[in-house]
Amino acid sequence: MSAPLVVFDKVEKNFDDFTAVKELDFEIREGEFIAIMGPSGCGKTTTLRMLAGLEAPTSGEIRLNGQVMNDVLPHERDTPLVWQSLALFPFLTAQRNVEFGLKMRGIGKAERAERARKWLDKMGILQFADRDISTLSGGQKQRVALARSLVMEPQVLLLDEPLSALDAHLVIRMQAVLTDLQRELGITFVYVTHSQSEAFAMADRVVIMTEGEIAQIGAPKDIYRAPANQFVAEFVGRNNILSGAVEAISDDTAKITTPSGDFAVPMNEVKLAEGQRASFVISADLVHLALDKPASENAAQCKLISEEFVGSMVTLFLEDTKGHEFKVQMQERELSTFDLKSGDDVWLSWDTQSAHVLSEE
């Protein structure tokens, strides 16, 4: 494992009486693609801005390469940021925009031009070098903004929702551009987004934040399969969440009584005690659908409410007799064998091992 490049050590940030970030404690490794994700107002952008020096932490320490950064001015840092608004200089051409940082660092005219053109070329927009920013398309502007930051050849690149202004098909293209660049350059990327698909598609690790605190850090597949708490389970979506009291404990499973029925959960990850409250999730793609009552010990009778198609996948939204919502995800052609319509009664079931107990209530 490589050394931590960035360390947030008990970082807290208050704006007047509002706490934007509290007790932030995490590390970013060199060469890592890390995504900081959460709903708006969760403190993700504040975290990024503190790393760039645009906000000063109220308490705690931010270290870059072991050096405490708290009092280092923004222009003395080497942490270029790709802005959500892009923040390109409208009175400069594409090439002059890319040259800007080099100019500020006092690099000579010829070298500036050469390095800027190299990066414009790398981003595939060299032919627009002398164009005014206002004449470029959204995707081209995006590439200028990336080139402007990357030309500084930083150790760490900060990205603040850089793709949020782009059309959906461009987002997918730029995601590929970004991951390729990151692999090729080996630069650490810190990517702030509210979009789960962006974060999970690109990042090595994802930091999920809510209300100024970290809800979970982990690789996308770990977060997806094993959310730590209810917030994460709901935020990543496509999860069925059930809570109740632990009724009985056997060797490696526990029985939990929920309003929707009694269900068994595995105890390989989290130890449970009799009588305690516990929540668990079952990923929507691990739930089986049947017309008749299945033999499984984990079964619930539900009414079909609605269907949602995305490509060849379909998500069914159902409700049990107590009004608790369930989601089931399956292939469209699998669903067609059932011939269901809204209001039909069906049975849901899942393997005990498919359930995942949340480690935090």
Binding site: A52, G53, L54, L73, P74, H75, E76, R77, T79, P80, L81, W83, Q84, S85, A87, F89, P90, F91, L92, F100, G101, K103, M104, R105, S134, T135, R148, S149, M152
Partner: protein, 266 residues
């Protein structure tokens, strides 16, 4: 849209009347400045450039023109600098009493000119600075800085607030960012502010008359000529002053509007 026809006629007539009242005196002044007769009466006499020759031969008029030029160009530079500084402090900083601060800055044009002029005169004579050309420049700078500020502030409000931070983020110190980002962005508004304040200063009579002493500006000389007798020279000078002021105002508009349009229709 459903518009009422009679109302349209009334509105059109209203606009025509406004333009008539604003421009008729100026046009008549222009016409009479080329009229050979001494009194502004109709029918007109012959076409003549006599009055222009007269003012061009008058050393007092030349001196006043030079004074006006010095005053308006110095005022433009000082007032636009002050206007830029206040507009930027408004854009950049939030502080207690910002409301009163802005109110105070925008106050001078709302004070009746005669009061302003008297106050300036009283103040300047008290500190022994009255009757100098720089007295007029100082007074005019105070008077016109709010115009420059308003124009530059409007421009700064169109700026992406991330732009400045982006420049810091790319290694620009605050001064470098000012030089390479803020000023280039505000350039059209700064040019517009320069022309606008020059135009206001060039035209201004009341304050100039009170604080000028022997250093008369063109508007002051015009009044002196009119006071003596009715002399069509006034029409000739008036036409000059009008043309120069209009040119400055139009230039201010052009600089401001061209950028405005560009940012709306990129």
């Amino acid at each position: 849209m459903n518009s009422s026809r009679p109302l349209n006629y009334v509105l059109a007539a209203y606009v025509v009347l406004i333009f008539a009242f604003v421009f008729a005196p100026i046009i008549f002044s222009l016409i009479f400045s080329f009229n050979s007769q001494r009194f502004p009466t109709i029918p007109l006499g012959e076409f003549s450039t006599e009055w222009y020759e007269k003012i061009l031969a008058d050393p007092d008029v030349w001196e006043a023109a030079l004074n006006s030029l010095i005053v308006s160009s110095s005022t433009a530079v000082i007032a636009t600098f002050l206007g830029f500084c206040t507009a930027y402090s408004d854009f950049r900083y939030n502080f207690r009493l910002k409301g009163p601060y802005l109110g105070l800055i925008l106050l001078p044009p709302t004070i009746p000119l005669i009061i302003m002029a008297l106050a300036m005169l009283a103040w300047f004579s008290k500190i022994g600075m009255s009757g100098q050309i720089y007295s007029i420049i100082i007074a005019h700078s105070v008077l016109t800085a709010p115009f420059a500020m308003a124009v530059i502030r409007l421009r700064l409000n169109q700026m992406d607030p991330d732009l400045e931070a982006a420049a810091w983020n790319l290694g620009g110190s605050e001064w470098k960012t000012m030089r390479h980002v803020i000023i280039p962005f505000c350039k059209p508004a700064i040019a517009s502010g320069l022309f606008l304040t020059a135009a206001v200063s060039f035209d201004e009579f009341a304050v100039s008359w009170f604080v000028s002493g022997l250093n008369k500006t063109l508007p002051v000389i015009i009044l002196e000529i009119v006071q003596g007798n009715i002399d069509p020279q006034v029409n000739a000078i008036g036409t000059f002053v009008f043309l120069i002021s209009m040119t400055l105002v139009v230039l201010a508009q052009v600089f401001f509007a061209s950028r405005q349009l560009k940012s709306i229709h990129p």
